[in-house]
């Protein structure tokens, strides 16, 4: 399915969770990883839309893709030093990686493609 806003995707996730009667924790994590990836897309790329497909078969399987250049994928836990030294931002991909069982990124045919399981 193709979406042009995060709100549309969230409505899709909400309906998906209700349909499959998923646990709150699973819905939380599904919504979180999609929010983080879509927010990054709008913030760092010129893409105006994205495709998102979610399937449920024992685990949640998410496929999200959008047009973009390839980028250096980085999902590292920010160093927690002194509070004043902690940079704002940069936690999104780390949370995605932390909240998923598997998380892969690939760039193919001008698209960034994420495949995740929760």
């Amino acid at each position: 399915m193709t979406f042009i806003s995060l709100r549309e995707a969230e409505n899709y996730v909400e309906a998906f969770c209700k349909t499959y009667r998923l646990k709150d924790d699973t819905c939380f994590k599904t919504r979180l990883v999609i929010e983080e990836l879509v927010t990054n897309m709008f913030k760092y790329t010129e893409a105006k839309s994205f495709t998102l497909n979610i399937a449920f078969d024992k685990h949640i399987k998410i496929n999200l893709a959008y047009s973009s250049d390839i980028f250096a994928f980085k999902a590292e836990k920010p160093e927690q030093n002194e509070v004043s030294q902690i940079k704002e931002g940069g936690l999104g991909l780390f949370l995605v990686e932390s909240m998923t069982r598997t998380f892969t990124y690939r760039h193919q045919d001008g698209k960034s493609i994420y495949t995740l399981t929760i």
Binding site: F28, T39, E88, G89, G92
Partner: protein, 98 residues
């Protein structure tokens, strides 16, 4: 949703969701409320059901303002997946739990 109560400490009650949809607005409210900070901050997240990295930035801002003012920033009521988010992101290393 955000509610702020100024008593002995400043109590910031965050509820429902804190994400990219409302984080900027919430951050502005928090920064206004924490001007000339004279007391400790308590962030009550008992009724917060969802937080993303955008929401964590609001919490980080509170912690930074507290430190700049030589005050403490406490976290109250974190549970379930919300607490897990605070934990994996490392925020529980600098937020004291009330």
């Amino acid at each position: 949703m955000i509610e702020i109560q100024k008593e002995k400490d400043i109590l910031i009650i965050l509820s429902d969701r804190l994400d990219s949809m409302n984080a900027d607005e919430t951050k502005e409210i928090v920064m206004e409320a924490l001007k000339d900070l004279q007391s400790d901050i308590i962030l009550d997240v008992t009724n917060l059901t969802y937080i993303s990295s955008a929401g964590l930035q609001v919490v980080l801002k509170c912690a930074k303002i507290a430190q700049e003012s030589q005050k403490e920033c406490f976290l109250k009521g974190a549970h379930g997946t919300v607490r897990e988010i605070f934990q994996v992101s490392g925020f529980l290393t600098f937020l004291k739990e009330a």
